[in-house]
Structure formats: structure tokens, C-alpha cells
Symmetry: C2
Subunit: 232 residues, 2 copies
């Protein structure tokens, strides 16, 4: 018999918040005339290579705020945008102001009546705290790569959640809109739920969100996830 599920750990960028749509609005308002969707996509795509430089040891431990700023400076140069230091600081903090998908707040309120709901994000703690306060996201605990000093998909992050709550790995379910994140969690013994976020990369770059058999649950959004979990 499976162990009792206790903790739902949520990926954040893309799964909880619409990073693309939120960044496009911020870029549009600060850099009129620029291809805001291209700018947002370029900013986000610098993220995995930057984390790889940290995990390889080329860079020391670096918070995502600082990685975002390094990438932003590159993207600004590439798009030939004129932004001074205070404007760059402000734009970089757009990641602290990302907007949740419409189902998130209601879904989390349902889920937290039955489970502990926490983040498991590569975003740094202050980014996640500002985002939660700004949008009213009712986390029971904010956990981050910053706590474990490793970025996902390193196993210390997934196993770290189980350790923090003093439960077995299979009492934790990772909830994410990304199959690679879920596969790494599964390899550590966590349970998995895939969430469809077809517009994660923008309305013009529809994602394939079809179910894959390796994920235990598949839901269109957090409200459907609550229905799947709570009716079980």
C-alpha cells in the first residue's frame, strides 16, 4: 500500500505564475517599440545555461535574482534598449511581481485544507516571498534552491523537501508543468502531477500538454488537481 500523501511541492515559474505574459507587460511598458515577447523569451532562455555555470562550479552559489540580472544586461544589449541602472533594477524585479494563472489561488486554498502546500523553485526566497505577498498566494512554506544550495533537477532539492517535513519521499508530490522536473522528482521517489499550461511560452508558442504515462496525475489546472486528489 502506498504511503499517505502529505506534502504538495509546487514548481513556480510556468506552473504557478505566467512568467511570459507578466514579463511581456513589463517589457512593453518600459521599452516601447521592442519585441516584448522575443525579449521575454530570450531572458528566460538564459536561465538554464546560467544555472549550469553555477552547478558546474564555474560560478559560486548565485541567487536567481543575480542570474536574472546578468542575463538581462545581455538581452538589453542584444535588443539595443536604453535603460539606466535604476530602470534595470526595477525591470529585474519583474520576476518578484509575476502573476499567477487564474486557477492558482482558489486551487491552493482547496488543496491546503488537506495537504501541506509549499514551493520548490529555483527562484530565491525573497523573490518567492514578494511574489506570494503581492499576489496573495497561500503557501504553508516557501522552499527554494536557496535553502538546499542546489538547483533543480539536483536530487538534494527533491529529497530536501521530504527531509524538511520528516516524511518519506513518496509522501511528497511534485506538481509541475515540466516533464523534466517531474522525471527528476520521480527518480528520487516522489509522486508526480503534471499541470497543463499551454500558454506558458506565450499565445503564439503553444506547448504540447498531452498526458505522458510516467506522470501519476495529469490535470488541466490546480482546481482539477484538487478534485483528483481529494475525491480519491
Amino acid at each position: 500500500m502506498a504511503s499517505e500523501l502529505k506534502v504538495l511541492a509546487f514548481d513556480v515559474f510556468g506552473t504557478v505564475v505566467d512568467w511570459h505574459g507578466s514579463l511581456v507587460e513589463e517589457v512593453k511598458s518600459m521599452c516601447p517599440g521592442v519585441d516584448a515577447a522575443g525579449f521575454a523569451t530570450a531572458w528566460r532562455s538564459g536561465y538554464k545555461p546560467a544555472m549550469a555555470r553555477v552547478m558546474s562550479g564555474e560560478l559560486g552559489w548565485t541567487r536567481i535574482d543575480d542570474l536574472h540580472r546578468m542575463i538581462l544586461d545581455d538581452v538589453i544589449a542584444r535588443y539595443a534598449v536604453d535603460l539606466d541602472e535604476s530602470q534595470r533594477v526595477h525591470l529585474n524585479l519583474a520576476w518578484h511581481r509575476l502573476t499567477p494563472w487564474p486557477d492558482v489561488i482558489e486551487g491552493l486554498h482547496l488543496l491546503r485544507q488537506h495537504y501541506t502546500v509549499c514551493t520548490l523553485s529555483n527562484g530565491n526566497l525573497s523573490l518567492l516571498a514578494d511574489m506570494a505577498k503581492n499576489a496573495g498566494i497561500p503557501w504553508d512554506l516557501i522552499l527554494s534552491a536557496e535553502v538546499f544550495r542546489a538547483y533543480k533537477p539536483h536530487k538534494d532539492t527533491y529529497l530536501g523537501v521530504a527531509s524538511v517535513f520528516d516524511v518519506a519521499p513518496d509522501q511528497v508530490m511534485l506538481v509541475a508543468a515540466h516533464h523534466d522536473d517531474l522525471a527528476a522528482a520521480k527518480a528520487c521517489g516522489l509522486r508526480t502531477a503534471y499541470i497543463e499550461r499551454p500558454y506558458e511560452n506565450g499565445r503564439d508558442a503553444l506547448k504540447d500538454v498531452s498526458p505522458r504515462p510516467q506522470n501519476e496525475l495529469h490535470a488541466s489546472d490546480f482546481i482539477e488537481l484538487a478534485e483528483l486528489l481529494i475525491r480519491q
Copy 2:
């Protein structure tokens, strides 16, 4: 000119929650006939020596839940109480269910409109998360010795708060009912607010809560702290 205050970091046991009163109720209900106040005091007094064993390297990194359990087993033996394993597990989790002082929730709701409010506790993350969920304490972020792998009064904990929020130490204020905690924070450059909790150790062990000049602010409770900070 002083830097702008951004973050209020709260000590928890004694400052936010009434550990003595809460434990007395739990001990009374599980161990009828036992001197519940003495039992609670003995349990709490094992805490600093146990943390000292970790910080000296005699014990590896240990969460407070596990230190509390080691001490509990000693106190149970000393008081000759008959509790089986599941009762001990339940009683040990009393620390996850501690009750806030009456001013806490209202005071934090006022304070978090102007500042980031977080914990800085030696309690472990799951303890603090359960406590907040159980009592409805509206933290913006839960920080713990567990994040910094050092217990207060180690400087890594106080400076760690400033680092997490990417602010200068004097943009953080420690709020605590204990002068030694505040003195250690002040030595790291943090600002300090003392909170009167005269009954922290029980109604029969009144604490001296008179002001001391080394603390920047002195308030009877969190609502008075909000008045002092927000009218400034």
C-alpha cells in the same frame, strides 16, 4: 541618516507564542497528576544545552524537533511518566501547536502592510510552518536556523536574514522578548525591538521586562510595536 527599515525578523518561542502556557495544557491533558508547569520548564531548559552540543560539533546538525524529543525522553524519565512511543511523538509535536499571544495576529497584519515580516527562529521549518498554519500567523517568509545551518546567537543567522532579502543589516530589525538574542543581533548591525512577555515562563515566574537602553525600541506587544514603527 539611517537606512530605510525593510524587514522585521521575529524570534518565535516566547516572543510570538506562549510556549509555557501551551505546553502546560498539553502536558496536563496527557499526563494527569504531573506538575505540568515544572515539566514544561524542564523541557524548555534542556534546549540551550542541546543546541550547544550541536554548535560545538559534538552532535551533527540536528533539527529542533529531534532535540526536543531527546530532552522529552529525559524529562519523562525524570517525572516517571508512562507514555508509549505514539504518545511521545504526539506530545513532541506540541511545539508545532503552540498558541500565539493575543496581540500577535492583529499586530502582524498591521506590520506587514509596511514591512516584510519573517521569522528568525531556532525552530525547524516544518515546526514553524505547522504553527503558522494552525494559528493563522501571516508570515511573509519563514526563516529558521535550519536554513542557515546555525542556531542563534550565531552571526550567520542574523546576517543571513539581511542576505536573503539583499538589504543592509541595519535595514533589518530583530523583534524579540530576550535581551541576549537582541544583543547578538545588534552586534551584527541589526536594529532591535524588545517585546514585553512578562508571563513567558508562566504566571508564577514573572519576568523582569523593564526597558534596557541598548534596545532601540521597547513595546508591550506587537500592536504597540506597529504604533511605534508606523507613526515614525
